[in-house]
Symmetry: C2
Subunit: 149 residues, 2 copies
């Protein structure tokens, strides 16, 4: 049991506040964080199957189908048949999707830069130094060393 002074106990409220910060930045007519993550993945890795996207984003298959449906209705992605497998569908980014992804990413990054500019150098350095470690933490649950998380 966490006694209240473990690193995890101290990390938890900070993560909660960062989530709130992101939600707060979440302006209308842009994308949800999950939608952004999917578009970013499609942009980086190219077209992908619904099942693979669902697994990568830790979502269920129906959930991903619905998200892709919303994105397709918005003209940001399109479904194309998979030539390799008749059951499968490939989701790919449209030009509009790539464009909105770029603009939304810029908006978020600009806002974060503004907030970072209000901190002092020591704080900025500390955050910058911790980024790779935080990224590894975020993925620590992806590759369990032995068994369950």
């Amino acid at each position: 049991m966490a006694a209240g002074n473990t690193p995890g106990s101290q990390l938890l409220p900070v993560l909660g506040e960062l989530v709130r910060l992101l939600r707060q930045l979440d302006v209308p007519d842009t994308l949800s964080l999950v939608a952004m993550a999917v578009l970013r993945r499609l942009d980086r890795d190219g077209a992908g199957r619904v099942t693979d996207l669902a697994r990568a984003e830790r979502a269920t298959q129906p959930g991903m189908t619905q998200l892709i449906g919303r994105l397709e209705r918005a003209g940001l992605v399109q479904r194309v048949p998979d030539p390799q497998d008749g059951r499968s569908v490939l989701v790919e980014l449209t030009a509009a999707g790539r464009d909105l992804l770029a603009r939304t990413t810029t908006h978020y990054a600009d806002t974060l830069d503004l907030l970072l500019s209000r901190l002092d150098d020591a704080d900025r350095d500390a955050i910058s130094t911790a980024l790779p470690a935080l990224a590894r933490l975020a993925h620590a649950a992806d590759h369990p060393p032995a068994g369950r998380v």
Copy 2:
């Protein structure tokens, strides 16, 4: 415009992945992160008014009314009349709410501790060192130095 190599650009995907991590830890029969934040605040500051809770959590007043309604139906909080102001309602934690908050907090903290234990000392140190800076970043939008965010 963020050129893609600003601190904010690098922070954004890491924050996105941390959000995904937290969602992943979000086990059934426990609390959402916002619900946890409200219960944590009530535990720390004592009973509070709906308006104040909404403001503190950056939620709307109707949104907070509905969240409190769900929490009350679950027996985690109770509404009591405000003796100072007939329009107002004070929300306070029940024993069950305090208990569930403690158990949920422990669950999250334990899981984070497990994930942290998979990193090396340098990563743990970097995260630990950056925590106060990250907390200040999360609150940087709360106190705008001049005008808008």
